[in-house]
């Protein structure tokens, strides 16, 4: 019991706390790959600190919803962080939501983001909101289909069970999971506003998706949003890890194994971040109306994975 509560707290803090670090690491890697020196892995923390200290400037028309939204986003992302098994699978809070609920949680955060973006009533804000929702409503089905494949394997949609099945039953190779993994990778690129769907570092409003939504935000609100998106990236990474390379996650009472799990986690995150940076360096952002095709492909792959699961791995 204590163990589970401890792990719960530990991993929550870990995810919330280390999220900016992951972003920093990715940016740093990208800088290196582009032969730049880079601002260092801690840069995101500095940015957040600076933003928190600033005075908030609110657009005249902004309604309370506008101020509420950042907290909701942050809260949702933090909540996700408490559900995904990162170090150990016996999380007391994990029972509160399964993968479907996770998707719902992401959607909730997104809904508030989009509404807030429309709240001030600027051209770019509403445009960004629309694009975000468009991408999302195509990514969401793909994401759920991705989740279905392991769920079918584990006969369950709750992450701990899935992890236990994949990591601690006898080892089996699941070709279906390969499809699911690729699809998941594409979806998470789209969901986290990364290249090739969106460019987090762009300054051209007309090409923005996520950035366009938060143009009106400043100071602590902006900080919360940035942090929330960082946690989102973190969350997606750990979800991917727990679904597709769950080895190292502790099953039950095992104080000693926690450090091992930690080490494994760090290793995986470093690798994943580097891979992400590499991909972002190699590929270019695509036009907005190519995004549906991109996500359609992801959807197709996910469904294929599921069918393979149903047809071959009976």
């Amino acid at each position: 019991m204590i163990h589970s509560i401890f792990t719960q707290l530990l991993q929550t803090l870990l995810i919330v706390g280390l999220a900016p670090l992951l972003v920093g690491w990715v940016n740093q890697c990208r800088a290196w790959l582009q032969n730049k020196s880079g601002a260092g892995v801690l840069q995101p923390y500095r940015v957040l600190h600076k933003l928190f200290n600033k005075d908030a400037v609110l657009a005249d028309g902004a309604s309370p919803l506008f101020r509420l939204a950042p907290y909701v986003q942050f809260g949702c992302m933090a909540l996700v962080g408490t559900i995904v098994p990162v170090l150990a699978t016996d999380l007391p809070f994990a029972a509160a939501a399964d993968v479907i609920a996770l998707v719902g949680l992401f959607a909730l955060a997104r809904l508030f983001a989009a509404l807030a973006a429309m709240d001030v009533g600027t051209a770019f804000g509403s445009m960004g909101a629309r694009r975000e929702m468009l991408v999302a409503c195509l990514a969401e089905p793909a994401l759920l289909m991705v989740f279905f494949t392991p769920s079918l394997i584990a006969q369950s949609t709750s992450l701990p069970t899935i992890v236990e099945t994949l990591a601690h039953r006898e080892f089996v190779l699941y070709p279906s999971l390969a499809f699911a993994a690729i699809a998941f990778y594409m979806v998470s690129l789209a969901e986290n506003a990364r290249i090739p769907v969106d460019n987090p570092t762009t300054h051209l409003e007309l090409t923005m998706i996520h950035e366009a939504m938060i143009l009106e935000y400043s100071a602590r609100h902006l900080a919360l949003i940035e942090w929330a998106s960082a946690i989102k990236l973190m969350n997606y990474s750990v979800i991917g890890i727990s679904l597709f390379l769950p080895w190292g996650i502790v099953e039950a009472e095992g104080w000693l194994l926690i450090p091992v799990a930690l080490a494994a986690l760090f290793a995986k995150l470093l690798a994943g971040g580097a891979a992400l940076a590499l991909l972002e360096t190699l590929s270019a952002k695509m036009r907005i109306f190519r995004a549906p095709e991109f996500l359609g492909t992801a959807f197709l792959l996910a469904v294929l994975g599921m069918l393979i699961r149903l047809a071959l791995e009976k």
């Binding site: 657009a59 909701v72 933090a78 959607a107 909730l108 989009a114 429309m118 051209a123 143009l215 602590r220």
Partner: protein, 675 residues
């Protein structure tokens, strides 16, 4: 409500139900007496009717657990008096009716204004008859009473829809509505004709007993699907729905969309699971496919609408599609003897019924208030209302989150359960189904995700941003009676969303009755806090914890930010990347929101574009998305009828010799026939 149910438990709930129906009719009569006194009708009759609705809901709750009760009324055909029966299924739908109509009635108390179409008293009588007729449909226990109640329901709602009959568009909408309703009713009638014993006994009891061959059972099912589908707005009998809902006064649209559509689902369940002795798998597949198609169709068209009530109407089509899909899934599981799964799917279906009743009514009423304070239904003329009508806006937000199927509100629970049911299909013996149904799940998820898109458009364009017209600044908030109604429905959304285990516990009575299986431990296994599908370790979800978690995280963040840093804040003009002159017209419009959907799902629509030429004085682009089915199905049928009647009119050529010739030839033919 509990105290009410406690009282109702002592006496027979059925008596309460009949009493409520009578009360409604009396209230209607009073309305007819004092036709034009808005005050009496508004502040006297409608609240009373709302109270009656509460009593009805209480009686329904009480009857859910109780054994079924039957009565025979002194009305009807000589050999066929009206039979009424109150079992778990009817009780559930009575709760739905009572719960939703309570909010709508109290809202209507503040809604109806002088000088809008027919006088308030007439509104009142039609409204109350409409309510009573729906209740009668639900408790009817013989085909005759069912049909009478069914058509009375259609008729009263038709008159409500056309209450502002000076406008031709409204007249044609009402006509289309009543026509499809009537044709559907004939289909239902024929379905009963198949199931009746053949010796003038139309009670449901004998129909349950009557054994049918597979062929006739299928015929009956198809007729029922056709008839009830026409009422529910299932493809391709949906055409009336997006016309009639916007035409009607808002509380009526809410009642029609929230409750009346469900009576069709009730009928479908009643006929398929209760009256028919055998069910076949392919029925389920048919219903599933139809449902998913309807859902996708509805949501895609909702995405391209620019009239807020039309948008909601199409979204109703989508939700009906989801419900129908759940029904089909239930049927599939049931026919493959996967009892528990059938129970799960059925619970999801019913759950979505009641959820839709609440959030769709809520949203329709919200549009009603907006309509009253702005006099426009077009999304292109709204915006920024959250500042002038905060009550409506914030309550509307609840409805938006609920209908978008997001946790922790009620929309998510039913969709979650349905997805769980979808995930269980690989267990089916038929390999085809076990592979195809999960793909159906994909379609379902796509529909749900698009619903989120639609609702962001709906809420954002109406309530957020800058007002697109000057007059919007004068928009006033809901009156206190309207607020009560809105709050009631919103509260319903929250409660249904947060304590699913209790709701499912109640639904179990219906499961037991229709599928013969209880969910019981499957959903309640992990304690009252967690709802779980099949087994806790399989999947579990706790909306309450969820809600608390979000709130806690939210509160903690807020507190921490305030504690560690500061709360300083000042206002300034919107930045918008320093873009100098920005007007409200630069915001994204409803059309703008529809455009990408049009582009991605082009084949679904029939789009006629009007492109500006380079030499236009006032260049304007216009792209109207229309219903392909209207052109592919309805117009051809109309033309066919036209053609036949044109060609048949040769019979009446006006020449007496020809007439005599008919008579002569008829005679000769018959004489030959006799030989």
């Amino acid at each position: 409500m509990d105290s009410l149910s406690a009282i109702a438990a002592n006496v027979q709930p059925l008596h309460f139900v009949l009493g409520v129906m009578v009360a409604w009719l009396i209230l209607g009569g009073l309305g007819l007496v004092a036709q034009h006194s808005l005050d009496f009708v508004g502040h006297g009759l409608f609240p009373a009717s709302a109270v009656a609705s509460l009593v009805l809901a209480g009686a329904g709750l009480a009857a859910l657990g109780a054994p079924s009760q039957a009565m025979i009324l002194a009305l009807g055909l000589p050999d066929l008096p009206f039979h009424v029966r109150l079992d778990a299924l009817s009780a559930f739908f009575l709760v739905l009716l009572g719960g939703a109509s309570a909010g709508i009635s109290i809202y209507s108390a503040g809604y109806f204004r002088q000088g809008e179409g027919t006088p308030p008293g007439v509104h009142c009588v039609l409204y109350q008859v409409f309510l009573a007729a729906m209740a009668a449909v639900i408790i009817a226990d013989d085909a005759y009473m069912f049909m009478v109640a069914w058509e009375t329901m259609a008729l009263s709602s038709y008159f409500l829809v056309t209450s502002n009959h000076k406008i031709p568009a409204i007249r044609s909408a009402g006509f289309l509505y009543l026509l499809l309703a009537h044709i559907g009713a004939i289909g239902i009638l024929l379905c009963f004709g198949i199931m009746q014993g053949g010796h003038g006994d139309y009670t449901f009891a004998t129909m349950r007993a009557a054994p049918l061959t597979e062929f006739w059972a299928s015929a009956a099912f198809l007729l029922a699907l056709f008839g009830f589908g026409a009422k529910a707005g299932v493809l391709p009998m949906h055409a009336w729905l997006p016309e009639a809902h916007p035409a009607a006064p808002t509380p009526v649209s809410a009642l029609m969309s929230g409750v009346m559509l469900k009576t069709a689902i009730y009928g479908l369940l009643r006929v398929t699971f209760d009256l028919l002795q055998i069910q076949l798998p392919w029925w389920g597949v048919l219903a599933l496919v139809l449902g998913l198609m309807t859902a996708l169709f509805g949501v895609m068209f909702a995405a391209v609408q620019t009239d807020m009530k039309r948008l909601l109407a199409y979204s109703s089509i989508e939700n009906i599609g989801i419900i129908l899909a759940g029904f089909g899934l239930t049927l599939i599981f049931h026919t493959y003897n996967a009892g528990p799964l059938a129970a799960l799917a059925l619970a999801a279906t019913l759950y979505h019924c009641i959820n839709h009743a609440f959030f769709k009514s809520l949203l329709f009423l919200v549009t009603g208030t907006v309509l009253h304070s702005t006099n426009t239904r077009s999304l292109g003329k709204l915006g920024g209302l959250i500042r002038h009508m905060p009550w409506v806006a914030w309550l509307g937000l609840i409805g938006t989150i609920a209908i978008a199927g997001l946790p922790p509100l009620n929309g998510f629970v039913s969709e979650w359960l349905l997805l769980q049911a979808f995930l269980a299909t690989p267990g089916l013996p038929s390999s085809y189904l076990s592979m195809l149904v999960p793909v159906g799940a994909a379609a379902f998820v796509l529909a749900a995700a698009l619903a989120g898109y639609v609702m962001v458009k709906f809420y954002g364009v109406i309530f957020l941003g800058q007002p697109r017209e000057e007059k919007l600044a004068r928009a006033h908030d809901a009156t206190w009676l309207e607020r009560i109604g809105l709050v009631w429905l919103a509260a319903g959304c929250v409660v249904l969303g947060v304590v699913p285990v209790f709701v499912l516990g109640q639904l179990d009575h219906v499961n037991a009755m229709l599928t013969g299986h209880l969910l019981g431990q499957q959903v309640g296994g992990a304690g009252w806090l967690f709802v779980s599908a099949m087994a806790p370790e399989r999947a579990s979800y706790s909306p309450l914890l969820f809600l608390l978690g979000v709130l806690a995280a939210l509160g903690a963040t807020f507190a921490l930010v305030r504690k560690l840093y500061h709360g300083r804040m000042r206002r300034g003009p919107a930045w918008d990347c320093g873009f100098p002159l920005q007007t409200a017209r630069m915001q994204d419009t409803a059309e703008g929101f529809g455009q990408p959907i049009k582009q991605i799902f082009e084949p679904v629509f029939r789009i006629d574009r009007h492109m500006p030429s380079p030499f236009d004085e006032l260049p304007r682009y216009e792209g109207k998305a229309e219903d392909k089915l209207w052109y592919a199905l309805y117009l051809p049928v109309a033309r066919a009828v036209e053609w036949i009647s044109a060609s048949i009119s040769i019979l009446q050529s006006g020449r007496i010799h020809i007439y005599l010739l008919y008579s002569f030839v008829t005679l000769l033919v018959l004489l030959i026939f006799v030989r």
